[in-house]
């Protein structure tokens, strides 16, 4: 999966989890939680959807890697098949 495809996969998940948010202008470098309404339960939803849709396990110790979209892509792209 390319970096762009990985980004889109994350966007698809967030679109389902935070359906009221406008994600079109999401900055890749700012923390996701500073830009959209995401709480800890939503974050667990993201982790669950990565598991379900892409068979990716994100250990709790790695959660900080997913703080920004750029971090998500960097962390997840090598794990995407």
């Amino acid at each position: 999966m390319t970096a762009e495809e990985t980004r889109q996969a994350v966007i698809d998940i967030i679109t389902d989890i935070a359906p009221d948010e406008d994600l079109a202008s999401l900055s890749d470098d700012k923390p996701l939680r500073d830009q959209i309404d995401l709480d800890s339960m939503d974050f667990l939803d993201i982790v669950m959807e990565l598991r379900k849709r892409h068979s990716i396990e994100v250990p709790e110790a790695d959660y900080p890697e997913l703080n920004t979209m750029a971090g998500c892509v960097k962390y997840l792209q090598p794990k995407m098949t």
Partner: protein
Amino acid sequence: MTPTPIAITGVGLTAPGSNGLQDFRQQLLDGRSGVSEIETRHMGRVNAGVCDFDELAYQKRKARRRGTRAGSIAIFCGHECLKDAGLNLEEINRERTGIYLGITEHGNVETENEIANIAQFDNDVKYWTHHHNPRTVANNPAGELSLNMGITGPHYTIGAACAAGNAGLIQAVQMLQLGEVDLALAGGISESIQTFGIFAAFKAQGALDENQNPKLASRPLDKNRSGIVVSEGGCIYTLERLDDAKARGAKIHGLISGYAMNSDATDFVLANPVQQARCIQMALDKADLKANDIDIVNAHATATPMGDIQEIKALRAVFGECDNVSINATKGFIGHCMGAAGALELAGNLPAFEDGVVHGCGNLEDLDPECEIPGLVAKGNLPKQKIRNILNNSFGMLGINSVVILTKA
């Protein structure tokens, strides 16, 4: 000391076939069935009462995704009843507002969904959602309403099988009379059509209607009735102490003048007419009314073969000699809305204080001789000179009985 009278100042509801008190009343007066058919897990086609309201009228999509159908019904009805009372969230004291919602059951839907979800993943529980507990705790529908409205007073549900809608109202009356709260949002909620288990269990019990025409399926008191049509629904009332309601010039739909709850203590399922009659009499005593003072009795009448016969025995025992009492039933039009049934069916009769009409029963073509009782409004609607008092029965499994009496303000 006579307890402070409690006034109904607002009604918010969703029923199979209509939303809002006015539309619901018209549905009943028109004799329209709101029952349809749905596909349910493991069972395929079943008759069911489905509500059609805008889930996003008062709730964001994310909250709906995180929550439950019961929560969504509660949020819709809660906002509607506050609006109907001429109140808004900014002006009420939310710390002095209580939420009391009756439920038949809660959590079956969400549990079944998760079991189906993890079955796709070889039953690996790491796929079980972290939302399961907040969705399935018994206070969920009331809690979702509290979160949505920012109401910081008490919120809880009352598990009372199909007597629950009235039980929610009764709890609110007591809390208002005790001075624990100044405003109450109370009634009943059901999401039960989302769980196959309730259909399967009624079927196993021989108590599920399987008529191929959903509009004819729910037929309380009819000789050809064959069981329950499970429905979802919700009805929440805004309740205030009468003095408070008058002081702010609120429109008063009616007063809760009497109520009672008791138990059969005889059987898991089969109703006990002696204890049902006792519950009705206790409610009359509390309201300081005689049986013949009641103008409308709304029967619980679920359309199960035995349940209807047992209830009619109870009604004969209390009202058999009365010449003023008119008796009707609602489930022929909307099916059995479970935890919402009592509150909804009471609401369906509430406008009779103004329009002076007793709505009839739905799908009652051929009265079961064992269900014959004087005053039954079997078909059509009955205009009545003076309607002052309405009595609503709501009974449930494990022998729980609830009766509420409304008096015209």
